[in-house]
Symmetry: D2
Subunit: 307 residues, 4 copies
């Protein structure tokens, strides 16, 4: 693990200022997804070669554990004995307080406020209450279809996984682009693989709020410059512990609140890592289709890569 | 509305026998999705022209009503006052007993049993219990990427919507293909628009369990012959009241239990109807990405069309 | 139904001022339950004669309807097939957004704020957030054991029920006391029977938010003077439509926010009416045992009368 | 900790046979609560002296932990910003899959089946399905008002708590009766204090499914002979690990399935221990008022002692 520099609050605030895109879009609550036009969609579709389809959602996890403090619910509500008689039906109920470490989900723009402000400078207090988010709701985002790029750091480094706490810095992003033969461009979705899902399978669960690999804030200006539309990974994008004083999730603050870039948290990228390695190509068509929740701050999702 | 013939139970059972594909697939619990190979995916990707992206999920509906007996739940669980201090976070909880008429969802193969048998002849009692479905779970399906075809019946007929109770028969499907310039082929997803979402918006809600437009069972052999992978619509595919004696959801029984064809229920096809009409093309890339629920009988989804 | 006078906002505010007991109790978030001492408990126990036990909770209602907009949930989570093998266990999950008209429940002091203030003048914004209520939580109330008095208005008036919209005024309370041979005293729980549960059983459900029998605000000073600890009924204590301009639930505001008197809503008083009539006595030992929810604004309950 | 003898399955089955009361009651699904007549209620009321009221429910626990695998839910659904304007209202949603170790609850007779049979010999498969329990539902029990007896074992033994795994045997029950000056009689509710709540507060949580103090099966014939109506404790009545081969919860099987005695699990008896010690009397009026859930296998409760 490289040494972790301490970033002061002043440095962070300057960074926030440098990358923010407030006031840029007419449809502000779509944030960086405004970058993705029909042209981007067509180009993304054009990267498909084999037609291999790879999902990225972790199994819906109903067991509590160090990385699943608020287990999702799954109840069978009809076992052929409620409705009937022909055909008989089986039904179930699902539920989740999905933000956290246990459920693969999308963070919409209303999920994060920094210094009281949501993306585009909208005051959080005026825009989010018990009835939901009036700005930055997941329903305003809709689905995203764009090119995805996998930054498979363990593949680049020749390790099974990054250790929890490992920061991914600007130089690491550039090195990965070169090693994997892909260049992040405007409107892309960048998915960071730490290998934490493999590590959990082999070594058992730990509390990723305490230690997880993820982007260091110094990688964010590069991603901002490239005009990414979406960030995601098998963690929650933030390296933990946070390198920024007094800010527990600085990449969340920069991406969501400053740049209007939604986040994909808790992906399972193991199958995608295998598929991209086999194809020798780290780009793919990505489709993310959040549930249409008015006022929602995000959604459980099952993002799909098509290679 | 055409007259509704009565189908006897014997006729229905013969139909069931005629269209069933039990024993055909190694991965039986993927059912008709086994038809969709990499070739189909590439061909589906190849129909994209404009890059216009159209979602199909109804808004997550938390209000009870005649078409929403089990309202979905949406609770804000953090309003910037629970986690903190920087960034502050907004979080929410969603929940749904999603089978029914209120939530856009996918029916997996475990959802329906006819005469006690799930698809592939698997006994329902041995395969589904309070712990979930061991055969035909939504997690076994995974995502579907294929060509979608919209059968926009109101467009074909020059009406704003089909009246509730209107049956769509084999001849109507063929007429729609001809009128819309599209031919249903193997691995396709066929989406039936009745215009009921528009009708509800203009006239108010009613109970679609009592009356809704949908496929008559006599359309099913044609769809079976074409090798469809998925059926869906702005109803639940079944015309109601049922034309089959003693079978409340005959198209469900035929599609899911006999043919292994999952269903998409309660789509909002209004935007897609506009986009297809504007493009003059009724085919598109379709992506359906159910949540990865082990043992789940289906999933809320937000299917995406790319034109 | 007697004519409904209109009460101006000024008159209401004067009433609020007149009955409020802010600053009176050390343990302010127990409100009027501070009135109930060991002496009162012993006296309440002393009214028991036959030992007949009468519960008052409506059945947990999972069906939506005009009086059940947010149906409660009840899911079986183990049918002997999850845990095992011996003994096998059956388990279930219950859930409710219980304020409303469908669930028998207690309103704690944090449930209601008038002009931004909770009971004892505590600002609502500072005391209630997404983490729950810091003042006036149901957990601070604990259980109530006191004398209950049933004001069985239909019995007094010789009618099967009061019609929805019927206001119960100060004179009606006094007349009921006389007719039923009971005098409301300090620390008592007063339960108002309108007979709406019987009416619903015979005539079907309606929306009680639109019309229900209940106390007119002019009955509140009398109840305040008597020092009641708890009000409840088979409605939600408020006559609806509200007789007070701009205040949708004036008895809630007066009882909870001004007087610190919790409310019992949506009781089933039919069995109690039968038992009290048979005994010829309208007083009983009452036990209300809310769930111990820290931060909760109330609780589903099953109040118990012992005659 | 005393040595734990192993009980064979044959011995257990003989015990089951010996204590079972099948066929005894007309209202079989009230089980042993049939023992509690108006006379018992009056006698129970008669033990009240001081009027001190003591609740026994643990706080509603929304945090996962080794003793709370399925955390309860508590969501604020209105923070004065949904309904309004005057008065403003605060509302919340509660939910629990309450069987387990985290929630104070009552086990109804439908909760447990031994060798496929519920209490009274009713086949579990025919009586419990996804729609709920048709026999032995909590709604059939209703509330219980009876005399409660606290077996405060740590007080008897002069220790702060029983260690997890400590079995309470017939001799221990008799010794406790003598030491505490109370004799268990027909219709009584017997509450066993192990002091585990205090231990948890002082030493932290552990998994009580692995080790907890509770009744050894050899104490059950004594309790059966005395005609108890209810058993409960600050564990779940069963000593764990189980002393019976192949039966994970033998006291549950004996009490619920053989004797029709509901159980109170996960009580907080610390305050009651203090109050009984202070009074020097280990009997009290007990009121248990389960929610009125048709088909429910039990209920979260807040049992109340009145001393």
């Amino acid at each position: 693990m490289s040494a972790r520099p301490t970033v002061s609050r002043e440095e962070f605030d300057a960074l926030f200022e440098a990358v923010r895109t407030w006031g840029r879009w007419d449809r502000a609550d779509r944030g960086a997804w405004n970058r993705v036009t029909g042209d981007h969609v067509r180009r993304a579709v054009g990267v498909v070669r084999s037609g291999v389809v790879v999902p990225m959602a972790l199994p819906w996890n109903t067991r509590s554990g160090p990385d699943n403090r608020k287990p999702a619910l799954h109840h069978m509500t009809d076992l052929g004995d409620v409705e009937g008689p022909e055909p008989t039906t089986h039904k179930d109920f699902i539920a989740a307080d999905y933000h956290g470490k246990g459920v693969t989900h999308l963070d919409a723009l209303s999920h994060i406020a920094y210094a009281g402000l949501l993306y585009d400078g909208r005051p959080a207090r005026e825009n989010v209450d018990a009835a939901g988010a009036r700005f930055g709701a997941v329903a305003a985002l809709g689905p995203l279809v764009t090119r995805g790029v996998l930054l498979d750091l363990p593949a680049v480094l020749g390790v099974p996984w990054l250790e929890p706490g490992h920061p991914v810095r600007a130089g690491d992003v550039r090195a990965a682009e070169e090693a994997l033969g892909v260049t992040i461009g405007e409107g892309d979705a960048v998915l960071l693989r730490s290998g934490h899902v493999r590590r959990r399978a082999e070594l058992g669960a730990w509390d990723p709020a305490t230690a997880s690999a993820g982007f260091h804030v110094d990688a964010v200006p590069l991603l901002a410059e490239r005009g990414v539309a979406l960030l995601g990974g098998d963690g929650d994008s933030d390296v933990r512990p946070s390198p920024v004083e007094g800010v527990h999730s600085p990449v969340h603050a920069l991406a969501v609140a400053a740049m209007g870039v939604p986040l994909l948290d808790n992906l399972d990228l193991e199958a995608l890592a295998g598929a991209t390695a086999e194809a020798g190509r780290y780009e793919f068509l990505l489709v993310v289709a959040p549930l249409n929740v008015p006022g929602g701050t995000g959604s459980p999702v099952n993002p799909v890569a098509v290679l």
